[in-house]
């Protein structure tokens, strides 16, 4: 007996398209921001060109650690928020003193060799996308439940899509008709990116749900985790951090990654070396003497292990360069899958009913999808073009990102677009305008980086890769403008 009957297929198709058209926009944003946040460390390095003076593999000195403690002490005296230390790692050789500003972790950058403060420009860097990924830049109480709800819906959309295509999954696996009409090409792209990366889509959605599951499934009665009583006192340790880190290395066998401070206690978290699991057992040290404190020696259970693996698979912090690059590619293809699905649906509607006025979805599509690329490039461009010591520049960057996006979304609703272009080519013209804007802004980003970072530093791997990706994306957008000219209007 056939499982997917025509009636069942029709119901699933309705659910898939309706859920996609209502939630696909936010899903697209979440996947795009998530993909970019995989490279958040590299993006922050790119956005703080002043840190390029620190060579890769710079050795952490005790002088740098002492300087970090001195800054922590000054911050505490000045009543600034509590900070923690991020130590140099293979992806970023700088030493950071970070605090949470309500949306992202920002703070001073220190040269690990001599403890000199690097005058890096004030920016949220790649962490902006990390926060945007799971809160949509909304207050936490709204953003996190909303994203977990969308993650639940994404799981349903993926499952309904798989059920819809289950019979055709293998034949469609290698089908991409580049010269077919636009809807056919978009559907091919949607199916192909959905099918080849299906394991990734499932892994990333399920692990995302595991991360957000407290919001997705608010179990009753909500038992708050046992919190130790608040201890008052100074967070700044009296003990020197150098010997503490040496003992941490010796005891755990891992390189230290983060140091977090609480009154009378120093907690050091290790970095994994190529393991997927996200959380490593921290070691606690006495804040006054620097001696190791007795910790919880209970071995982690199976559920604990699965949860850590799920977190590690989603956060992609410890998985090594090769797997991180593959994860990034997977994220790009997930974003392409959602974008192609959204564009396909709106294009299909136009094809079915060419005489009707464009609907909200069709008007929104070029700005929401193509405008995201424009906004990303504007964010990078503002970072490089605003004066480095400008007060409040961080806010200008993030506001510029959203402003560019909103402007692109509004472009579809401008009345002149319909009057000038007529109803048949309206959508194509808006698409061409948005893609051209993205292409030009992208090229400006690459040029601005070449102008700002002189002296051959742009030949550094991180800058070269990010500039290369920006250049390829910009060229692809410009190629899209040309390609749309040749495409048959649907």
């Amino acid at each position: 007996m056939q499982f997917i009957t025509p009636a069942r297929r029709a119901r699933l198709a309705w659910f898939h398209t309706q859920a996609g058209i209502f939630l696909g926009w936010l899903t697209f944003i979440i996947f795009l921001a998530g993909t970019l946040s995989l490279a958040d460390v590299e993006l922050t390095r790119w956005m703080q060109p002043e840190t390029a003076v620190i060579p890769d593999g710079a050795v952490l000195s005790d002088a740098a650690l002492d300087r970090a403690v001195q800054i922590l002490r000054e911050d505490e005296k000045a009543g600034r928020p509590r900070s923690f230390i991020r130590l140099p790692e293979p992806r970023d050789p700088a030493l950071h003193i970070l605090h949470f500003n309500g949306h992202a972790f920002t703070g001073s950058v220190i040269d690990p060799r001599d403890g000199r403060t690097v005058p890096a420009r004030d920016t949220e860097g790649g962490v902006f996308f990390f926060n945007f990924h799971y809160t949509l830049r909304l207050p936490y109480t709204i953003g996190e439940p909303l994203v977990s709800f969308i993650t639940l819906a994404t799981g349903l959309m993926i499952l309904s899509g798989v059920l819809l295509q289950i019979g055709r999954m293998i034949p469609d696996y290698f089908t991409l008709r580049l010269k077919a009409s636009r809807p056919r090409f978009l559907l091919d792209l949607h199916l192909l990116s959905g099918t080849v990366m299906l394991p990734f889509h499932i892994i990333i959605t399920w692990t995302g749900l595991v991360l957000m599951t407290g919001n997705a499934f608010p179990f009753i009665p909500v038992r708050l985790p046992h919190r130790p009583p608040q201890v008052s006192g100074s967070f700044v340790p009296a003990a020197s951090l150098g010997p503490v880190l040496r003992e941490f290395r010796q005891r755990s066998g891992n390189a230290p990654g983060y140091i977090i401070f609480s009154p009378g206690k120093i907690t050091v978290y290790g970095l994994g070396s190529g393991e997927i699991s996200a959380v490593r057992e921290p070691l606690d040290f006495d804040g006054r003497t620097g001696r190791l404190l007795p910790g919880d020696t209970k071995p982690a259970g199976l559920t604990d292990g699965i949860t850590r693996l799920a977190w590690g698979l989603h956060l992609a912090r410890n998985m090594g360069t090769v797997l991180l690059c593959l994860w990034f590619t997977g994220g790009v293809l997930s974003t392409v899958m959602i974008a192609s699905g959204l564009i396909y649906y709106t294009t299909l509607r136009r094809r079915r009913n060419v005489s009707s006025a464009p609907g909200v979805a069709e008007r929104l599509c070029p700005g929401a999808v193509g405008g995201a690329v424009v906004a990303f490039f504007v964010y990078l461009l503002l970072n490089h073009t605003l004066p480095a010591d400008m007060p409040g520049r961080r806010g200008f960057e993030t506001n510029g990102f959203f402003l560019a996006w909103v402007m692109c979304c509004l472009a579809g609703f401008l009345p002149f677009a319909r009057v000038v272009a007529g109803r048949f080519v309206w959508s194509r013209l808006v698409w061409q305008a948005v893609l051209a804007l993205a292409g030009i802004t992208g090229l400006c980003v690459v040029v601005s980086d070449a102008v700002i970072v002189l002296g051959g530093l742009w030949l550094h791997g991180v800058r070269l890769v990010i500039n290369g990706l920006c250049f390829v994306t910009a060229l692809s957008c410009l190629a899209g403008v040309y390609g749309l000219r040749r495409h048959r209007v649907s």
């Binding site: 290698f174 892994i203 393991e275 090769v322």
Partner: protein, 91 residues
Amino acid sequence: MMSVAVAVLLPGCLLWGCSLPYVRDIAGFSVKYPCRRKKYLFRLAGGLVLLAALPLCPAPSVAAGIAMWVMLISLVSFLCALGLGFVRAMR
């Protein structure tokens, strides 16, 4: 090690691909080729090559190795599809 892994991955994907109608179309085979038995033979051979090459994955842990292999297969398949799409568009 990575290049060896990818070198094994490619014939595995191609073997699997030979069972697909779209690839047959590109390669100029007749629609009837391969027969049902050959089709599954190609899939089995391709699948076995991909599985046998799994230990070649230069990953520090089993979980990382499986994740890397799945992603590599997906990526190579996507690139194959893109390449075949271009071949078809050029013809």
